[in-house]
Amino acid sequence: MHTKTIAEIIEGLRNKQFSSEELTKAYLDRIKQHDKTLNSFITVDADVALKNARDADKKIADGNAESLTGIPIAQKDIFCTQGIKTTCGSKMLDNFIAPYNATTVQKFNDVGAVLAGKTNMDEFAMGSSNETSFYGAVKNPWDTNAVPGGSSGGSAASVAARLVPAATGTDTGGSIRQPAALCGITGLKPTYGRVSRYGMIAFASSLDQGGPMTQTAEDAAIMLNVMAGFDQRDSTSVNKPVPDYTSTLEDSVKGLKIGLPKEYFGEGLDPAVGDAVQVAIKEYEKMGATVQEISLPNTHFAVPTYYVIAPAECSSNLSRFDGVRFGHRCDNPKDLMDLYTRSRSEGFGEEVKRRIMIGAYALSAGYYDAYYLKAQKIRQLISNDFKQAFEKVDVIMGPTAPDVAFNIGERTEDPVTMYLSDIYTIAVNLAGLPGISIPAGFAKDRPVGLQIIGNYFEEARLLNVSHQYQKVTDWHRRVPKGFE
């Protein structure tokens, strides 16, 4: 049962092959059985999950089933869940029972999905390996010595190990796509503004975007149908009709114009990963797509630019964690300054502190123009690169990450090397474009992800293009050893 996709589970529930309660129990059992190894969940509340499941069964019996009714979905622990601990992977929020639901969570509740649990993540989504979590590293189910990627590492690992059918993630610089690639699953980062950010604990507000993490593109389409949409509580949410993302999955890719940015295949890319990606692109050519080389000339500025904008925004976003109204508060503060500095230093981990400090520095008097303003200008250049590319091609393809999953501990000593894990994903966030990573084979026995980047609001096309590939390949059906 656990290897079923959402699409298959929906059928099973409709045909009464199993109830949501049975389904939910089965997944809860799998979590219990395997998550000691993987550490992909921070919180699993079986009572809540089973109650959701029974409510869903009633809804199904009453003939009111919607797409995800009764299906266990894991939420990244960055989404506020009312009455349930929401930690954002941080000691700072270890005691934080969210008093309200994120819009995304509410939308899953409204269709009767089951909350399977809250997944582990890099602290405040700052990381590319899930090693910065206060709740410990998450292991990659394909090789437990390897990282699952980050920051949505718990979501990626749990879906890859089939502990849940699907999960949500958030992507600020690659945090959905990179772990999806490293864990061999499908992960979609929608266009900025497509999915509400309300209740999604902010890392870098102008970059953050929630999205689905699933086995297949079809499942991602079903998930996005629920997640996407205008939210009046989010000023950056876009008021634009949401198409039915499943309705165009079967469209042909014949004549599809694919651009391959030469900057994504050069120095820094592991040759084995490059080979796997090229093989995948050959499949598209077989299906009648055409391929051309393009250039995104400012690609090499993406990581430096991101490491100004994201830390600057985070340094400000994380100021609210001050030990006054919620979250960690140090014992016996002797004065106000002590309350602030001790609560924050005890509550935040190293990587978060580093980024807060870099951000505070980049915004401080005398440095703003050289760092923040300069970064915003380069952001424009990077965005223009894509605009020009999309005049020539329909989608852009390349590797999601420069390498397969690295080993736990391998890059923790050197933050800058770690930052380069997101070299191919970051520009997409800076431009605000949608991007997807889909499984495209293996290199060194670890999964490789193919990244497909679309023009603004072309999620439907990305899902269609991904689905067509998944119809002729079976990488997405591979299950890591020990989790079959």
């Binding site: 000023s235 950056t236 400000s316 994380l318 100021s319 609210r320 109204r325 919620f326 979250g327 923040y372």
Partner: protein
């Protein structure tokens, strides 16, 4: 040495919206602590701001009223600093592109001279909460009800040269924001607060001296006192060989002095940057024209009209247009009394204003409505009562004894114009005061006043004074 004072004011006006600038929580004053602080106001993780339409509308209204440039795409920025009454660790404000740009305001000084004060900008921002320093287990209590209340911070150019000018500017602004309905002007509740930047320089010097910022002065009187104290202090410092330091100072009304706020001393680095949660605020030329069409008559326009239509002088017109309510009241009185505006003006500025001051009431709280006052003046005009009796009637109306006609009727105050009746009284008075009559006739004409007084007294003030005068003169000279 002769010194010149340079003052610029930053005035925070609370906009009278129903809900907060970025959330749907109420802005009503005086609620129980933290009962009007919603998730957004508390800065809970994950919450996001959405801008209140009315706050933008009000800011544009102000901009149009002071002839300011309105920024077509203004930007919200974050001002970052840690303080317990600032839940997010940053205040959402405007920095580089405020919604209202350069404008100006005309002030009139006591000597009648007029001066134009430049307005540098006005920007929208959210208010902070309140720290309560009463003892809570030796700690400070934080109430965030006020957090997120919309403010329009109006920044003037350093164009004022005396405390008097500063107060005149502040009063003018205070009246304007109430005229256009964007602020209730309640200074006790903190709806209209002032920070003053004060410096001194030798007369004739071009460069500005080092300034001190006087924080949160919440009455006109205190602004004047705080500035005057600060000017003296700065001159003393310089004349005794010292230097003024740039700092924030707090005015202590009890001691009538300003003192350095050491806790705010630490050099601030606010790390402003555009708020990524909010997008540029667009105001189109059409929006501006629409707002212009909605604006009521502004104080200056009204003043000019009063001077032209009602033959008032500048001072009178200024007083009668000091608030929208005063102007409306005055014009209603004219209509209701059908009398000369000048007489109405005298009543509003005299009797009414005196009574209001005495009971510390505003004109909208007056127990004597404009219609009632108009009715009273009408009765003077048609000779039903004398001006003197009218004051008595006014007092009765003030005390709730009904309108003018009712009071006149009930108290029998109707003026006596029957010459026969008056003649009778005069005859009695003259007969009883033969010595005085002799004096008058011997050339002591001042005695006339004595007789008038006696007659009026006898008639309980009801005799028409003009008739009394004429008849007396006639009889005494016969």
């Amino acid at each position: 040495m002769e010194w010149e004072t340079v003052i610029g004011l930053e005035i925070h006006t609370q906009l009278r919206t129903k809900s907060k600038i970025f959330s749907g929580a109420s802005t009503a004053y005086g609620a129980e602590p933290n009962t009007q602080a919603c998730a957004v106001d508390l800065g809970l993780p994950g919450v996001l701001p959405v801008l209140n339409k009315e706050a933008v509308h009000m800011a544009v209204k102000f901009g149009v009223a002071v002839n300011a440039e309105i920024t077509p795409r203004s930007i919200f920025a974050r001002k970052n600093y840690f303080y317990p009454d600032l839940p997010k660790g940053y205040q959402i404000s405007q920095f580089e592109l405020p919604i209202v740009g350069k404008g100006e305001l005309e002030i009139t000084l006591a000597d009648g001279s007029v001066k134009t004060i430049g307005i540098t900008r006005a920007h929208l921002e959210e208010d902070a909460g309140k720290s309560l320093h009463e003892d809570f287990q030796g700690m400070t209590g934080i109430d965030l009800n006020r957090a997120g209340t919309p403010l329009l911070e109006i920044v003037s150019e350093p164009d004022m040269r005396s405390a008097e000018e500063a107060v005149a500017y502040m009063k003018k602004l205070h009246s304007l924001v109430q005229y256009i309905g964007i602020c209730d002007g309640n200074m006790q509740e903190g709806s209209f607060r002032c920070d003053a930047n004060v410096s001194v320089r030798p007369k004739g010097q071009k460069e500005f001296g080092t300034r001190a910022e006087l924080k949160n002065i919440n009455s006109f009187r205190f602004v004047e006192r705080a500035i005057n104290f600060e000017v003296e202090r700065q001159i003393d410092v310089i004349e005794s060989g010292g230097q003024v330091v740039q700092e924030t100072r707090l005015y202590d009304a009890d001691k009538d002095e300003t003192r350095s706020m050491r806790s705010k001393e630490e050099s601030h680095d606010y790390r402003y940057f555009p708020d990524p949660d909010l997008l540029p605020v667009e105001v189109t030329a059409d929006d501006i024209e629409r707002v212009r069409g909605e604006l009521p008559e502004l104080p200056d326009q009204k003043r000019d009209r009063f001077m032209a239509d009602y033959e008032l002088n500048m001072e009178e017109a200024n007083i009668l247009t000091s608030s929208r309510e005063t102007g409306d009241y005055f014009e209603t009185v004219i209509k209701a009394s059908n009398s000369k505006p000048k007489i109405c003006a005298n009543w509003v500025m005299g009797e009414l204003s005196g009574a209001l001051n005495k009971s510390d009431m505003s004109i909208s709280e007056s127990p004597v409505s404009a219609e009632m006052l108009g009715g009273l003046i009408q009765r003077i005009n048609d000779n039903t009562i004398s001006g003197k009796i009218a004051k008595q009637v006014f007092e009765a109306m003030w005390n709730g004894e009904g309108d003018a006609d009712a009071v006149i009727e009930n108290k029998g105050l109707k003026q006596v114009t029957d010459t026969g009746a008056i003649e009778k009284i005069i005859d009695e008075i003259l007969a009883a005061n033969t010595a005085q009559v002799e004096q008058y006739r011997a050339g002591k004409e001042k005695m006339l006043g004595f007789f008038v007084g006696q007659v009026m007294k006898q008639s309980q003030g009801k005799a028409n004074p003009a008739i009394v005068n004429n008849l007396l003169k006639e009889k005494l000279s016969s």
